[in-house]
Structures are given as structure tokens and as C-alpha cells.
């Protein structure tokens, strides 16, 4: 058990070091940092001096570990485009993305499980058929088209909800939140649905198929024979046993919510990390790209690690195997 956890942690650190290497290589080899920092009027001494100051005359490995050291402390240099420290920009943008991801994640999980259980229990009902058909269309639609469709219906035709931005936000100790104002909440609805819909469909389909699998098992028939109520059978006995694979997939989906936020944020001009990243690619703003890459990798690796550990915690059978 302990050796398994240790192995997974070491693996995660290795992955992060590799990602760090990619980010560092971007810094070091995409354009000359000296070129970016010195103007046209420069002497050979200036270049030499700056090379010494930046540590570019040191061996590659030393430079790499210095970069990692800086990154761990949250120091990613200065944005080429905005001329401000990258960590400052990231801190400013992060709340928008995290709030959006949180709301759409909750939407996806709660509706995914509810609809999944419903379609599994009332398998032949017309409600289930409608939900399954709609979900099939939902999976085939690209995220950005869903966003545009929602904007068209709710902003252009009905004029109920705003089509871009975060609305009015409140600043609480450096964290800007849109949860506290009516316009902030209204602005959140469409982006959250757009981002959560695809994950919701996935979770729903997974819960449904797992649930159907479990309901076929002998212990469910036995529970029924014991005269337990349908509610207890469905929720206490069946749902509980479907949750193991659901946790894994849901956990991994949380990662892709943050990645797909890039698309949603662009459609709705939501001022978060994803929009920042897309702009950084367009302007080849390497420090921002590298920082975003490192940040998102940490999130992904942490989520993966947490899911793996949770998996062991939830399923006792894995504990035995892993300790061998």
C-alpha cells in the first residue's frame, strides 16, 4: 500500500520534471532571451553582462534546475506582451477559471448522476429515450457550437442572459468573485452549461451503463426477495457500487474541464486562464505559455494522483493487490 503510493508520487514528480523540461526548452530555444530584453543599441559587453546576470553562460542542467526552482516559487518571468510579471497575471485570471470550472463540474456531476440513475431505473420510459437521444446529439456537437447555440437562443433571440464577460465582480482580498452579484451569477449560467454539458453526458452514460450492469447482479434480486423498498435497493445497494468507476472517470474529467475551459472562455470572452493562454499563443508570449503549461500540468498530475489514491481507498480489492 505504502510502496504503491510512493511509486505514484515519484511518477508524478517525474512527469512534472519532464513538462518542466519542455517549458524550459521553450524559454531557452524559442527566440533569444537577450534579443527580447535588450534594445537595438547594445554592445558586446552588454550582451556578455546580461548573459552572466541571467545565468545563460552556465551549463544547461544548472539552468534547468534554476528554472524549476523559480517555477516552484511561482516565478515565471515577465510577459512579453503585457510587460508585467507572469505570476501576477495568472493570479488575476485564475479566480474566473476556477469559479467557472467549479460550477460546471458540480452541474456535470449532479445532473450526470441524477439523469444516469433515472435512465437506468426507468429504462424503457419515454423520458429516458428522449434524454438518451439528446445526449447523443450533445456528444457529437463541438463545444464551441454549443456555446454559440446557447448565445443565439438566450442572448440574441430571448435577450435573457449576457453573451460575454463576467458581469459585475466583487474583490475579496485579491480574489474577484462573480458569485455575489446578480449580473455575475447571470453571466455564469451560459458558460457553465456550455462547459459542463459534455462532461455531464459522459457521466450520465457511464452511470447508466454501470447501473444497468449492477441491477442485473444476484445480490439485487436477493435484496428484492428480502422485500426491501425500491428506493433502498436503487440508492443504497446499486448506486453505491456504481460509484467506483464513476469516481475515476469524473476525476479525470475535472482535468479536461480546465482544458476545455479554453474553448468556452473564448466563445464567451470569459477573462480567465484559458483566454489568456489562447492570446499568449497568438502573440507567441512564451513566458505566459510556459507558465500556463506548468500550472495546468500540476493540476492534471495532482488530479490523477488523487483519483488513483481515492480508487485504492474506495475499492478494498485493490489494496490487497497493491501491497504485494
Amino acid at each position: 500500500m505504502f510502496s504503491y503510493i510512493l511509486r505514484r508520487v515519484v511518477q508524478s514528480v517525474v512527469v512534472l520534471l519532464i513538462v518542466g523540461l519542455v517549458a524550459f526548452a521553450m524559454f531557452r530555444f524559442m527566440g533569444d532571451p537577450i534579443d527580447n530584453m535588450l534594445g537595438v543599441e547594445r554592445t558586446a559587453e552588454d550582451i556578455e553582462r546580461l548573459r552572466g546576470v541571467l545565468g545563460l553562460d552556465q551549463p544547461f542542467v544548472v539552468q534547468y534546475f534554476k528554472f524549476i526552482g523559480n517555477a516552484v516559487q511561482g516565478n515565471f518571468g515577465v510577459s512579453y506582451e503585457q510587460g508585467r510579471p507572469v505570476n501576477e497575471i495568472l493570479a488575476e485570471r485564475a479566480p474566473a477559471t476556477l469559479e467557472l470550472a467549479l460550477v460546471s463540474g458540480l452541474l456535470a456531476i449532479s445532473f450526470g448522476i441524477i439523469l444516469g440513475v433515472y435512465t437506468a431505473i426507468r429504462r424503457e420510459g419515454w423520458g429516458s429515450h428522449i434524454i438518451m437521444t439528446v445526449s447523443l446529439v450533445g456528444v457529437s456537437l463541438p463545444t464551441f457550437l454549443i456555446g454559440i447555440l446557447l448565445i443565439y437562443v438566450f442572448s440574441v433571440e430571448l435577450d435573457w442572459l449576457p453573451s460575454f464577460g463576467r458581469g459585475q465582480t466583487t474583490d475579496i482580498g485579491g480574489w474577484t468573485t462573480g458569485f455575489l452579484t446578480a449580473s455575475g451569477l447571470k453571466a455564469l449560467i451560459l458558460p457553465a452549461i456550455t462547459l459542463g454539458l459534455y462532461q455531464m453526458t459522459l457521466i450520465m452514460r457511464l452511470v447508466r451503463s454501470e447501473m444497468l450492469e449492477v441491477l442485473r447482479q444476484d445480490y439485487i434480486s436477493f435484496a428484492r426477495a428480502r422485500g426491501l423498498s425500491e428506493r433502498v435497493i436503487n440508492f443504497r445497494h446499486a448506486l453505491k457500487n456504481t460509484l467506483v468507476p464513476v469516481i475515476t472517470v469524473t476525476g479525470l474529467q475535472l482535468g479536461s474541464i480546465i482544458a476545455f475551459a479554453i474553448i468556452t472562455e473564448t466563445v464567451f470572452q470569459w477573462p480567465g486562464l484559458g483566454l489568456l493562454f489562447i492570446n499568449a499563443i497568438q502573440f507567441v508570449d512564451i513566458p505566459v505559455m510556459a507558465a500556463y503549461l506548468m500550472l495546468i500540468s500540476v493540476m492534471f498530475v495532482a488530479i490523477n494522483l488523487a483519483v488513483d489514491l481515492l480508487y485504492v481507498a474506495v475499492d478494498p480489492r485493490l489494496r490487497g493487490e497493491a501491497s504485494i
Partner: protein
């Protein structure tokens, strides 16, 4: 002549009687999807012949024709366009046909690239085993941790940073192919590796080894033909995903250059006119993308069910 004809007839009869063709003839969805895909591909390939206008020839464009609604004649020039025109007076039908050309080319090329890389690495990993296998599959696992669209964006960003500014538009399409291709090889590698592991221990492989054939020859001539049917399924589904990935990247402005607009670029442009009422600039490219992606997807699903021996 007649011998050639008989050979063709025999081959046709064999194809017609095969299990796959039987399944195809009994699936209306597969036939419809094939029809739609074939029509769209033909339209894209023969776009210069089929399209009523050349959207990239400034001499044939008339700015007065801008924002003409579909089917109704323009108020100033009296010209009529089936699907209307965009803000610059370009015929939407022609623009869509040319855009589909870019989308399909990028999709097919990217899937081919991913397929070649994935099959090669999968064969090597499965056949050689040992640390080669471990290294390749570790890399695959790490890449699988990140969503492929993110990997593609990153590759696109890096490639854009490396290319000098004046060449960026020219190489953008190739960079896009590289980015999407490199982001989806993992699926192929995993499936081929798994199938190779099964085939490796069969007698025909041992026989080939005994008569002294080289590892490369065994992998390519003996094992590869036997692992191709799952690859076909994944390639079809990957094509739908690649087309959507390309559209997404172009929509975000990190894909096809303005000089070679794909369906995604057209949707990006069309979104700007959503509020001013020119719905057709957005609607028709979006529908084309949907029809293309959905039919390829349905075809892939059907192929998976038809080729899956477990379901028979």
C-alpha cells in the same frame, strides 16, 4: 479484356458477399452516412469545378454583394446566391466548399500521421517488449493524461514560436496537421500493441522467426495485416475527432490562416454577425461541419459494431 473483367467481377462478388458488405446493406444509417460523406468529399475535392464562384479571386468579388441573404437577389446588383454571401460579398456555398477542402485535408493528413506513428510505435513496443515497450507506453500514458486538444494547442504554439514571422501563414496548415497528428497517435499505439502481443505468440510468427526473417519483416509483412481491422475503426473515429479538433483550433484563432479558411475559421467569422442578423454566415458552415463530423462518427460506430467479433 474479358479475363480482366472476370477477375473484377469475381472480386466484386467476393466483396458483395462478405460479412461487412452484408452488414452494410442492412444498416440504413451506415448507407445514409456513407452517402453524406461521399457527397461532401466529392464537393470538397472538386470544389474548383463545382463551386459557382472562386471566393479567393478578388477580381470576381463585388463588395456591393456583401450580406446578400440566401436565395434573395441583392438590392444593388440583383445577383442571387443560394446560401447568401458574407461581409465581403463572397458566395457562401463556394466558401464552404473550399473551407471543407481545408478541413478534410487537415483531418485526413493528421489522422494518417497519427496512424503511421502509432502503428510503428505500437508494433515495436508489442514485438520487442522489455524496456522499449516500457519507454514507449510510459510516454503514451503521460500524453494521455493531457486532453489531446491541449497537446495540439501546445504543439501549435511552439511551432508558431519557432517559425519566422513571414512564413507563419504559409506553414500554418502543416503545423496544424503536425499538431493534431502528434496529439492522437496514442490510441493507435495502444491498440496495435495489444493486438501485436496476441499475434506474437501465434505459430505463424514463430515459423517466420524460425526461417530467419528479420524482425522488421515479421512486424510489417506478418503481424501488421492481422492487426489492421481495429486500426480501421479507430482511424474512422479519429477522423471525426480530428475534423472537430481542427475546427476548434481554427475557431479559437490558432489554426488555419485567414488566407486558407477552414470550416472552423468560417464559423469564427460568422460568430461576429450573430447579433446583427446575418445568420447564414454562421449557420451554413456550422451545419456543414456538423453533417461531416456526425456522418463520419456514425460510420465509425457502425464499423466498430460490424467488425467486432464479440457482438456477432
Amino acid at each position: 479484356m474479358s479475363r480482366l473483367y472476370r477477375a473484377w467481377a469475381r472480386m466484386w462478388a467476393r466483396t458483395w458477399d462478405s460479412d461487412l458488405a452484408y452488414a452494410f446493406r442492412h444498416s440504413p444509417i451506415a448507407m445514409l452516412a456513407t452517402l453524406v460523406v461521399t457527397l461532401l468529399i466529392l464537393g470538397a475535392v472538386f470544389a474548383p469545378l463545382v463551386a459557382p464562384h472562386d471566393p479567393f479571386n478578388p477580381a470576381t468579388l463585388n463588395l456591393m454583394n456583401g450580406f446578400t441573404a440566401p436565395g434573395t437577389p441583392n438590392a444593388f446588383t440583383g445577383d442571387s446566391f443560394v446560401l447568401g454571401t458574407d461581409n465581403q460579398g463572397r458566395d457562401m456555398l463556394s466558401t464552404i466548399l473550399y473551407g471543407m477542402r481545408v478541413s478534410l485535408f487537415v483531418g485526413v493528413a493528421a489522422v494518417s500521421l497519427g496512424m503511421v506513428i502509432g502503428i510503428t510505435l505500437g508494433l515495436i513496443a508489442g514485438y520487442r517488449g522489455g524496456w522499449t515497450d516500457t519507454v514507449i507506453m510510459r510516454i503514451a500514458d503521460v500524453q494521455l493524461t493531457f486532453p489531446s486538444i491541449l497537446v495540439a494547442m501546445l504543439i501549435f504554439g511552439i511551432a508558431k514560436g519557432i517559425t519566422p514571422v513571414e512564413y507563419r501563414d504559409q506553414v500554418a496548415i502543416w503545423v496544424l496537421i503536425l499538431a493534431i497528428g502528434l496529439s492522437d497517435w496514442v490510441q493507435f499505439a495502444r491498440v496495435v500493441r495489444g493486438a501485436t502481443l496476441v499475434q506474437k505468440n501465434k505459430e505463424y510468427v514463430q515459423a517466420a522467426q524460425l526461417i530467419g526473417r528479420s524482425g522488421t519483416a515479421i512486424m510489417l509483412r506478418h503481424i501488421l495485416p492481422n492487426v489492421l481491422s481495429p486500426v480501421l475503426v479507430i482511424a474512422t473515429i479519429s477522423l471525426a475527432l480530428a475534423i472537430i479538433a481542427e475546427a476548434t483550433l481554427s475557431f479559437l484563432g490558432v489554426g488555419a490562416p485567414p488566407t486558407q479558411p477552414s470550416l472552423g475559421t468560417l464559423i469564427r467569422v460568422g460568430q461576429g454577425f450573430l447579433f446583427s442578423g446575418e445568420w447564414w454566415i454562421l449557420f451554413f458552415p456550422a451545419c456543414t461541419l456538423l453533417a461531416l463530423a456526425l456522418s463520419v462518427n456514425l460510420l465509425g460506430d457502425w464499423l466498430r459494431d460490424a467488425l467486432n467479433p464479440r457482438l456477432k
